[in-house]
Amino acid sequence: MAASLDLTSLTEFVVEQGDPYVALALHPFVDEGVQAKLEGIIFARKRLKLTFAAAPYTPKTILALLVEEKDEQLRLRLSKNPAVAPPLLAKLFENASPAVIKNLAAHRNTPVEILERIDWQGNEVIRAALCGNSNAPLALLKQLMQSGTSVEKKGIVSNPNSDHTLLSELWDGGDKFIQGEVAAHKACPPELREAALQHPEVLVRRKLASNESLATDCLLLLMKDEDALVRSAAIGNAGLEDDHLGNADDPSIRVRRTEAKREDLSAQFIESLADDEDHWVRRWVARQPAASDAVMQKLAQDEVMEVRRAVGRNPSCPDFILERLAKDEDPWVRAGVALREDLARHILVGLESDEDIDVKSAVGRNPGTDESVLLTIAEHENRDVRRSVIVNPHVPDAALIKLQDDPYPLNRAILSGHPNCLTGNLWFLLKDPEPQVRYTAGKALAVRCLGTA
């Protein structure tokens, strides 16, 4: 039975062991008769019910059973659990206490028809929750707006369902914070965008500049704003096309950093930013795939270690630069090179004998690393170094068998949830002392059993 993929064997094992966490993992995958047996284990203690009612990993089949319970503490936990689906939240709404209703008003899965039925009169907490709920329909937001406090208006103005009428109303009576949110809203009407563009408050113009639905001509104006924060927001706007970029001489470091971070820079613009006095700008430039060999060669000799590492992480970095960076005096730079999955074998061989733990971890993750080296790394004294081998797509089975017994729980947790994990590993981990590991192993085994059925 030890390494088999048979759901019957697995359920028999779980029933015999009586482990509530593995039983929980298996529950959605078995038929009703077996489910009933597992429920006896899962619900054996009130403590377990409370734990599973609050846990986002609890399967829908168990949540559906818990929703039927009358216990107020269970219902409170369920009403906050992000995994609870709309029909179950609707069920919770029946005979709900004020505390449960408060949670339902804020829950992202609460159905619209329930949100509409919630009595919000005289309860600030519920009103604020509804205003900020992205499921709240426009009609409800309009009702809430009528008696809205400043906190509630903040919720309404950020709500994606607010329309231009509501936003105009908010703008008219709002302070600069409200107006800023209106300017950032995708439904902000054109006349308010124009007003925001001319607004004396930097905050409002900055929020406008961050609005991704803004027209290019408006963004171009904001790129010339006197305030660096506004220019930076406009340049960072995903709606701005790269051919509008090109000012590498902006006096503000913040603006130049934002420019350097964009993923669509031209080779020419990259070159002009590569000499920037700010190392954060150079660092971002060094990672630009469009950077020329000459730029990368120059930045590979940068005095700042992070810049050199960024060159080593650049997917376009040529081998002759990587060879040099693989011998860099700083281990963090060498580790950056060792992380590259496309690294030439002769460079990787040189790094395989590096004793630094960061380099060792990077070599452990690299699919090109020799199996014998991976086996050695799997026995390294540093727990974080050992973990690197688990995620290596070419990890040898012998290393995984070693790591299933790793004293560091996180390593076993990562192993139990990783596709590399062997079926034999999973059976072994079903008896792990950590509930998370047992749950993940149980679920993975059940999925594999069904996949092979």
């Binding site: 203690r45 403590r47 409370l50 609050a54 903040k154 914070f177 800023g180 905050l203 004293p407 002392p433």
Partner: protein, 264 residues
């Protein structure tokens, strides 16, 4: 060499919980239980001393607690402790730190260790008194809040650094045997290997009552305590405001509050 390490199973509260019907504690249904964090460091200190002594010597872990507390003792055995003792009887329920110390004192007298290590405090009740109370009842030297320790088994003294207020440290020498309360960060506690956990199941774990230690019912529980919990409750929340918004908005609101409070 024998080191006795006293540990406690502590409660971690859920976000939402209920108070027990008698109003004196949290309903255990709303708690997760685990070993007190400080005690992990105490045990590690003992394990390292033994390792540096050529693995010679015995480490005994003791706790005063109900059946569930056995889980924590097994974890300690899994890490390398040799033997465990759990003291419990329904009459012990309601013991304060002095009554618990009275029980532990009897265990120390029975075991006659060369050193006693305890955590500075327990994370649930945070009295930080049990260790020192044990030393007082034994009449042994003690050092509290130990952040580093130089002790060779068999030596007549140990040198410890203690954490003081204001970032100060104090180096003291205590005569042995002594009771030391160990501070977080003194070392890096190990994890029990799976092999160690399996082996722990076969290690001796004695279950005894206060009667076995020669204590009467009057010396434990509420009767044997110098303090009693009258009520555990959630205090009424006073004025509080969660400041929301962008950093600029938050700063503006904070300035407004400060002005209001200062009357500006």
């Amino acid at each position: 060499m024998k080191i006795l390490v006293a540990i406690k199973q502590v409660a971690n509260l859920d976000d939402e919980f209920e108070i027990r019907e008698d109003g004196k504690d949290v309903d255990p249904d709303f708690c997760d239980f685990e070993i007190n964090e400080w005690d992990d460091y105490s045990l590690e200190t003992a394990l390292q001393i033994r390792e540096n002594n050529g693995d010679e010597g015995e480490i005994v872990v003791v706790t005063v607690g109900p059946d569930d507390a056995e889980d924590e003792l097994r974890k300690c055995l899994g890490k390398g402790a040799d033997r465990a003792i759990r003291v419990w009887d329904d009459a012990i329920e309601g013991s304060d730190q002095v009554a618990i110390a009275r029980i532990l004192t009897k265990v120390v007298e029975q075991e006659a260790p060369d050193m006693v290590f305890m955590g500075v405090q327990a994370s649930d009740n945070a009295y930080a008194q049990t260790g020192i109370s044990v030393a007082k009842q034994l009449g042994w030297p003690h050092a509290a809040v130990v952040s580093s320790l130089d002790y060779t088994p068999g030596a007549s003294t140990a040198t410890a650094n203690r954490e003081l207020e204001g970032g100060l440290e104090e180096t003291i020498t205590v005569n042995c045997p002594a009771v030391l309360t160990i501070q977080l960060g003194i070392n890096e506690p190990r994890y029990a290997s799976l092999r160690g956990i399996k082996q722990a199941a076969a290690k001796p774990l004695d279950e005894i009552s206060h009667g076995d230690l020669g204590l009467s019912d009057d010396e434990v529980g509420e009767a044997g305590s110098v303090s009693r919990v009258r009520k555990v409750f959630v205090p009424v929340k006073d004025q509080a405001e969660l400041i929301e918004g962008t950093p600029a908005e938050q700063a503006a609101r904070l300035a407004e509050i400060l002005k209001e409070l200062s009357g500006a």
